[in-house]
Symmetry: C2
Subunit: 158 residues, 2 copies
């Protein structure tokens, strides 16, 4: 419980700081999202290196995705991804029905517009983790009902 709280609080401070240090305006929102995403990317890179130190080599892309959904997600968010779907053509959808970084926000539509800033870091986290496992991707997130959340991973073929 303590660790989760630490991560959550620190994550909140990060968001607040990034937004505070930017100037106001529509343009700036996008830049803040990008910054948070980039920080997530680097943290994801670092974490995946530690986590995979003692794991066997992955068989394929799907194997990598399963690792992210189970081990990686559990380490960071204390639960697994609830549902992983793929079109077998490089698109994966990871659904978390109770995403930890959104549980602090009230459910309902009132704060829905604020969801993206709480998801940007995690999008980066996934992208960074995958990147260090040799999988280049674009990761986006969408929320329809809080605190459920879907992360879409589009693999970039090289």
């Amino acid at each position: 419980m303590a660790d989760e709280a630490l991560f959550q609080f620190l994550h909140n401070e990060l968001i607040q700081y990034v937004y505070k240090s930017a100037e106001h305006g529509e343009m700036e929102n996008g830049r803040c999202i990008t910054k948070l995403e980039n920080m997530g990317f680097r943290v994801g890179q670092g974490l995946i290196e530690r986590f995979t130190r003692d794991t066997a080599r992955f068989k394929d892309e799907l194997d990598v995705m399963k690792f992210v959904c189970k081990d990686f997600w559990t380490s960071v968010f204390k639960k697994q991804i609830d549902n992983l779907r793929t079109n077998h053509q490089g698109i994966y959808v990871l659904q978390d029905n109770k995403f930890r970084l959104l549980t602090q926000l009230s459910a309902g539509k009132q704060y829905l517009e604020h969801a993206p800033k709480y998801l940007a870091f995690t999008c980066g986290l996934v992208r960074g983790g995958l990147s260090n496992l040799g999988v280049k991707s674009i990761v986006t997130a969408e929320v329809s009902v809080m605190p459920a959340c879907k992360f879409q991973v589009m693999i970039q073929k090289m």
Copy 2:
């Protein structure tokens, strides 16, 4: 291990971001330290609220300090403070012989000048935690040999 890594990496990103978003110059270093300290303060406030939810009321100031050195420190840094000293007149010195946020830096004098930015957040963390337990204080840190570190807490009598 995973949690520690997450906290460490996130903490590093925070430092880097705060310093990057500031302009260069001597003056700015002080402001960055203050910002990091303030973030620590708020995180400390939040954490201590969770941690003490089920603890008994503290007897006195020393009792509060012991809680910070044991339970609080262990939750955040995965070890206790190694040595707590006091002059019984409102000054406490908390010594950590292997402070987690410094272990990533190489020992020796080369990076000693960078130590303050790795300590500012934690100074705030302690100050924020104490503050929410009704103890107003000033917290400073000093390093003589990495990764050992001393935090000095000066209680502000009200």
